[in-house]
């Protein structure tokens, strides 16, 4: 086990800078998830940790060793690839033992380790099969088996669940979590799926355009996003981001056209001067539906455009201040398409972002 320290890491491809000087300290045994949209630099970062990409600038430390110049095999890492990277001509046993053959000469020890890994991952009956005879989930488990037999300092996962169907993805997600609980080694996992990031990570590193947008626990990232981008990326459905103006003509408020909402004292202190353009962030679950003519002062009049019942809850789509909003309400609440109603937001959960910079206020 080992901590991983990344300092000022950069990757350039000619004139294009894919990773722009990131700093990240990963604790020993921590499960870190690098998440972001395609092209944000998360996979490049992982590949630089693995030694599969040269580092243009910066440092990577694994434990107390600077690994910048070390080849992959000397970094004591194991990696699970998106397309599994199983050797198609070898049996499951040979795939799992491949890495051990270059490290351990004792065949009995290799056999013991492979059988132990196969037992953990439920692969024992499949050891003689070739990869093409396995399902997607089984292949993924073999790839994980190949990693765990090595007992490496760091596990690297490069979008390992992307090729699986939705049901299997959930199942394998749990298996990865279970594996981490069992081995308690440092895990660095790359994904573009925010649900995967939220469910797996001890800490999430959200990347954008080659830079880190925010680092935090899933709860921190979800509840207190540092930027509007983070707010829009994390959460399904994402946070509602409604353009508004700070109005201090009477008591502190934010105004969306004809409608306004009062600001708490804490938010008012950060909201800035009268007339400032802001973006109001509200999670879909932070609304309560009221009748069509509610007398509540902090409520928004809406017309429901679309109703999406999900079983566990119902999503209501509406327009507000020219943008589409979503509210998540309990399923027992019977709402019809086209219905007019008042939505009462939880004012304590409002997040304000500067309209120009997108940074949280």
């Amino acid at each position: 086990m080992a901590e991983v320290r990344i300092a000022g890491l950069r990757k350039r491809y000619g004139s294009v800078e894919a990773v722009r000087g990131i700093d990240l300290d990963i604790a020993d045994g921590e499960f870190i998830v690098l998440v972001g949209a395609s092209g944000c630099g998360k996979s490049t970062t992982l590949r630089m940790i693995a030694g599969l990409e040269e580092i243009s600038d910066g440092e990577i430390w694994i434990g107390d060793r600077l690994v910048n110049e070390l080849p992959s095999k000397e970094r004591d890492i194991a990696m699970v690839f998106q397309d599994y990277a199983l050797y198609p001509h070898m049996s499951v046993y040979d795939n799992i033992s491949f890495g051990l053959r270059y490290r351990i000469s004792d065949r009995a020890e290799i056999k013991r380790r492979v059988e132990q890994a196969a037992e953990i991952l439920g692969l024992t009956p499949l050891l003689d099969r070739k990869p093409r005879q396995l399902s997607g989930g089984q292949r993924q488990r073999v790839a994980m088996g190949r990693a765990i037999v090595r007992d490496p300092l760091v596990f690297l996962f490069d979008e390992p669940l992307s090729n699986l169907d939705a049901k299997l993805r959930v199942q394998m997600r749990t298996e990865i979590k279970r594996l981490h609980n069992r081995v308690r080694t440092t895990f660095v996992h790359v994904t573009h799926d925010q649900v995967e990031a939220m469910t797996l990570a001890d800490r999430i590193v959200l990347m954008r355009n080659g830079e880190i947008e925010q680092i935090g626990t899933p709860d921190e990232i979800y509840s207190t996003p540092k930027t509007a981008y983070v707010a829009s990326f994390i959460g399904a459905p994402p946070m509602n981001l409604i353009p508004a103006i700070v109005d201090r003509s009477a008591k502190p408020m934010v105004r969306f056209g004809e409608v306004s909402l009062p600001l708490s004292d804490a938010l008012s202190a950060r909201a800035g001067p009268d007339g400032r353009k802001v973006t109001v962030g509200l999670r879909p679950e932070h609304f309560v539906t009221l009748g069509p003519r509610s007398g509540a002062s902090a409520s928004l009049p809406i017309k429901v455009d679309v109703v999406e019942p999900l079983g566990s809850d119902t999503l209501l789509f509406f327009s507000l201040a020219g943008v589409e909003g979503i509210a998540r309400v309990p399923p027992e609440q019977a709402v019809r398409q086209g219905e007019r109603m008042m939505l009462e937001p939880n004012l304590d959960r409002i997040v304000l972002f500067d309209a120009e910079t997108g940074k949280a206020l």
Binding site: F81, A85, P88, H89, F98, G99, Y102, R146
Partner: protein
């Protein structure tokens, strides 16, 4: 009663229509359509392959010449071939020896493929240069190499004498010990470009992630080549081997132009011997027996190779 009769008649009509439909099924129509599409090739195959082969087999059991009517000969020609014909055995030995050029060519082609597949400047130029020998006419290749081997004006003798390695020129194509080897070198030179392209295509179909996984697993370059590249190139290698063996059976023009089977029968292959037997000494019946033997030997070799390749010679797709 009338109504009942009417009903029965209508039922019969419907039954007949239903019967016609069930016979003329979509599957049958598709089969017919495929057969119509394949028919031209099948007819050509029948006319120029199967019928001559059948006729050859019949002819090999007969005494036959252009001047006399055919007589049944039983195993006479085969007996002569296996028991009394030394030239046949020499041609067979040379043909099998010539097959080794396929192995040598494949080994060289793998080396070249690895080199020109590396990230080097101008690799496409190198590939093109190496491949350029393949589309040349075999007769042209034979003439080029006759000049290269020439005792007086040849490039090799000139080079060897220039660096002082030899005093007397070597008659490569006139010597019993070097003539066959010299032709094999020319054959490899011509075919190596094709082998290389087949091997490169096989290499390109190996996913790069396998090498990345192997390097993380601790395998060095040689171990990656030996444990991943070579096993995954098996279909390509067997395809090359099959092509090489076909060539060793059909390299008539190269031998004909370079040595015409000589000196003596030192470069005689089965194919040149068949030709000479049929058209130089007009023993068409005996040539037919030689052809039948060659055909079945080649068939068995092809089946063995295909079995060793797992029935996937030429396959480039990696089942992942």
């Amino acid at each position: 009663m009338a109504i009942a009769a009417q009903g029965t008649s209508a039922g019969r009509t419907a039954g007949r229509a239903g019967g016609a439909r069930s016979w003329w099924t979509l599957r049958r129509r598709r089969a017919l359509f495929l057969f119509v599409l394949l028919a031209p090739s099948l007819i050509i195959f029948l006319l120029y392959r199967l019928i001559p082969l059948g006729w050859n087999i019949v002819l090999s059991f007969e005494h036959w010449s252009l001047a006399k009517p055919a007589r049944f000969a039983g195993l006479y020609h085969y007996e002569e071939m296996f028991l009394y014909d030394d030239v046949f055995w020499e041609a067979l030995r040379n043909t099998l020896y010539f097959m080794l050029s396929a192995v040598a060519g494949i080994v060289l082609a793998i080396g070249l493929a690895v080199l020109v597949n590396a990230r080097i400047r101008g690799r496409n130029v190198y590939r093109t240069i190496i491949f350029m020998s393949y589309p040349l006419m075999v007769v042209a290749v034979g003439i080029i190499w006759r000049w290269i081997y020439d005792e007086k004006t040849g490039l090799i003798n000139y080079a060897l004498r220039s660096v002082g390695l030899i005093d007397q020129p070597i008659a490569f194509l006139e010597s019993f010990s070097t003539a066959l080897l010299a032709i094999m070198v020319a054959a490899v030179w011509q075919i190596i470009g094709l082998y290389m392209i087949i091997i490169i295509t096989g290499m390109k179909s190996i996913p790069g992630h396998l090498y990345e996984a192997a390097s993380i697993d601790g395998a060095n370059r040689w171990q990656q080549f030996y444990r991943i590249t070579l096993p995954l190139l098996r279909p390509s290698i067997f395809l090359c081997l099959m092509i090489g063996i076909i060539m060793s059976f059909t390299s008539f023009d190269l031998v004909f132009v370079m040595t015409n089977g000589g000196p003596g029968h030192a470069t005689e292959l089965l194919i040149t011997y068949i030709y000479k037997t049929a058209f130089n000494v007009s023993k068409l019946d005996y040539a037919a027996a030689l052809t039948v033997f060659t055909f079945f030997m080649f068939l068995i070799l092809a089946l063995v190779i295909n079995r060793f390749s797992g029935g996937e010679a030429g396959q480039v797709e990696i089942s992942e």
